[in-house]
């Protein structure tokens, strides 16, 4: 039933609608039936209108705003071609652009890939400068935990795109929650991530946007670290525009200083915090002024120092996170390898470097590490004492 059918009775409809809205609910149906008169459908339409008026118009707003997104982000690549790629379903839309599924056109086998279209446009020279170097960087990265970059190119409107291996997985935080992973298992996953980052650092590539949503865990538990170099690309392309702020940006990234390997260490600290505490360390409001965000970072560091988050992390784990998330990059782990070592030591009850090596601490760790052995030894000592007493 549509308005079109009743447009001749529009003014009547308008008037009846206002009246019906003021009626108590139980009288509504009778009122509408009577209003319909010879045309019961008119009455039913009126009834539908009055009941619809109680609804939430979020769907109206959302649909309009979704289409606006489409127009403004130049979305709607679905079904189009990008180089040799046939663009499929839109998977996600974010600060950096859009992510689609894609397959190779004219290909015998259905290789599925991810096509990322950046939201900025570059002219041909800029594109060659930024992207070709990026492609070489990616080619150098060959690691089981880093999806392979398959192709890169530029759309007709100037927007660059990257094509990477499709990863069928869920974000690391969701994976940990849905599989109810233990703290040790969560740390083990973070260690895997560290290995991928370590490999990249060895090849002189920084990630600079490590966050739970860029780490997907596949069904077999293998993590895949996505979006290598993308943030750097965004940073370069948007100089002078609204600069790109990674979600887990380190303090130095917030203040626009040159990021280093220590910035990735910071983000992994944040990741660890998120997985252990089961909530992000700070509110990731990219719009907030850098000063506010910096204050957030400092609050996290203070919270960790004052042991205000003892819920899930014990003293050592907290010390590890604190060291990784130190405000001053010089106070952080000097490399991913050092962080990795501490995580591994933590899981194996070996003293961690994040804690001052006092005799008491090392003894406590020694006891926990060798708890079985020590119990046996303790029992022996006790037995000997008993025999000694009897013998006397």
């Amino acid at each position: 039933m549509s308005l079109e059918r009743f447009q001749d009775r529009w003014h009547e409809l308008d008037r009846l609608f206002q009246q019906a809205c003021d009626l108590p609910r139980e009288q509504l149906e009778a009122f509408c039936t009577e209003a319909g008169g010879d045309d019961p459908e008119f009455g039913r339409f009126l009834y539908e209108l009055v009941t619809a008026a109680e609804g939430d118009d979020a769907r109206v707003r959302d649909s309009i705003s979704d289409v606006a997104h489409d127009v403004t982000s130049g979305g709607g690549l679905e079904g189009e071609r990008a180089g040799v790629w046939l663009v499929g379903k839109l998977l996600a839309r974010g600060g950096m652009g859009e992510v689609y599924l894609a397959t190779r056109a004219y290909s015998q086998f259905d290789e599925i890939a991810i096509l990322k279209v950046m939201r900025f446009r570059l002219n041909k020279t800029e594109f060659v400068r930024h992207f070709e170097s990026e492609r070489q960087v990616h080619a150098a990265l060959s690691h089981p935990y880093i999806p392979e970059l398959l192709d890169a190119g530029q759309l007709e409107d100037g927007r660059p795109y990257l094509v990477a291996q499709f990863v069928d997985g869920v974000a690391i935080d969701e994976y940990c929650a849905s599989h109810s992973l233990s703290v040790a298992e969560r740390i083990k996953l973070v260690e895997h991530v560290c290995k991928a980052v370590q490999h990249a650092h060895a090849n002189l590539v920084l990630h600079l946007d490590i966050k739970p949503s860029s780490i997907l865990i596949e069904k077999d538990g293998i993590p895949r670290l996505l979006d290598f170099g993308v943030s750097r690309l965004l940073g370069q392309a948007e100089e002078g525009h609204d600069s790109f702020t990674p979600v887990y940006a380190s303090p130095e990234q917030l203040t626009q200083e040159t990021p280093t390997a220590a910035s990735d260490v910071y983000a992994i600290g944040g990741l660890l915090y998120c997985l252990i505490e089961k909530e992000p360390p700070f509110t990731a409001d990219r719009q907030a002024p850098a000063k506010t965000q910096l204050a957030d970072r400092e609050a996290v560091a203070n919270k960790l120092k004052r042991t205000m988050i003892p819920t899930r992390a014990d003293r050592e784990l907290r010390a590890i996170i604190l060291k990784a998330m130190a405000i001053d990059p010089a106070e952080r782990y000097h490399s991913i390898a050092a962080l990795l070592q501490d995580l591994d030591d933590y899981r194996n009850n070996v003293p961690v470097s994040a804690i001052q090596p006092t005799v008491a601490y090392r003894t406590a760790k020694f006891v926990r590490r060798n708890i079985v052995l020590l119990s046996v030894a303790g029992a022996l000592v006790a037995l000997l004492a008993v025999f000694a007493v009897r013998g006397a």
Binding site: L3, E48, R61, S65, A68
Partner: protein, 188 residues
């Protein structure tokens, strides 16, 4: 933003044929429009500054083709909001046509996205209501453009139309009912 007089004056000059005036109008009205466009990017507003700008640019391009006489700033905003609606509806229509054209989509993974609500189909449904309203009750169409398509507040919508908020409230109740009824019952 400066007072209203210079804008009105500039708009008048632009209307009477001095197209160069547009370069002077742009920065004056730009801020206002920018805010307007940003409002309906509400869901991820921080990330869509660039997109909002692109949309406004498109609105301005189309503005060059508007024949009506522009009276004042409120009227100008009204025209831009009408253009916004037109831009969005055109886009939704193009998208729907493409789908009917039966574009072959080789990628058939279906486990990634849940929910099949198609915003462009929704927008076209809303537009069909507005087309009927244009004949019977044009003021509700203006309200829809300002309030829904431009994301203006109650007060801004009322003042742009020069009506009281209580009138707006009554008009909007009916408008909202018509749109929601269409979305839930009258969807093709």
């Amino acid at each position: 933003m400066k007072g209203q007089a210079p804008i009105t004056q500039l708009l008048g000059e632009w209307q009477t044929g001095d197209k160069a005036v547009m370069t002077e109008i742009m920065p004056l009205v730009y801020d206002e429009l920018h805010r307007v466009a940003r409002r309906y990017m509400h869901r991820e507003s921080s990330q869509h500054t660039l997109q909002a700008t692109a949309l406004i640019n498109e609105a301005f391009c189309r503005l060059g083709n508007v024949e009506t006489e522009i009276r004042d700033r409120g009227h100008f905003v009204g025209i831009v909001s009408m253009l916004m609606r037109q831009i969005l509806v055109d886009h939704a229509r193009a998208k729907a046509t493409k789908k009917r054209g039966g574009e072959v989509n080789k990628v058939s993974l279906n486990d990634v996205q849940v929910g099949t609500r198609d915003p462009s189909v929704d927008v076209l449904a809303l537009e069909s209501v507005l087309e009927v309203l244009a004949r019977t009750d044009p003021r509700k169409v203006r309200i829809a453009e300002l309030y829904y398509f431009c994301g203006m507040t109650y007060d801004q919508t009322a003042s742009a139309l020069g009506i009281s908020t209580s009138t707006l409230h009554r008009e909007l109740a009916m408008l909202k009912a018509l749109l929601l009824q269409k979305l839930s019952h009258g969807h093709p």
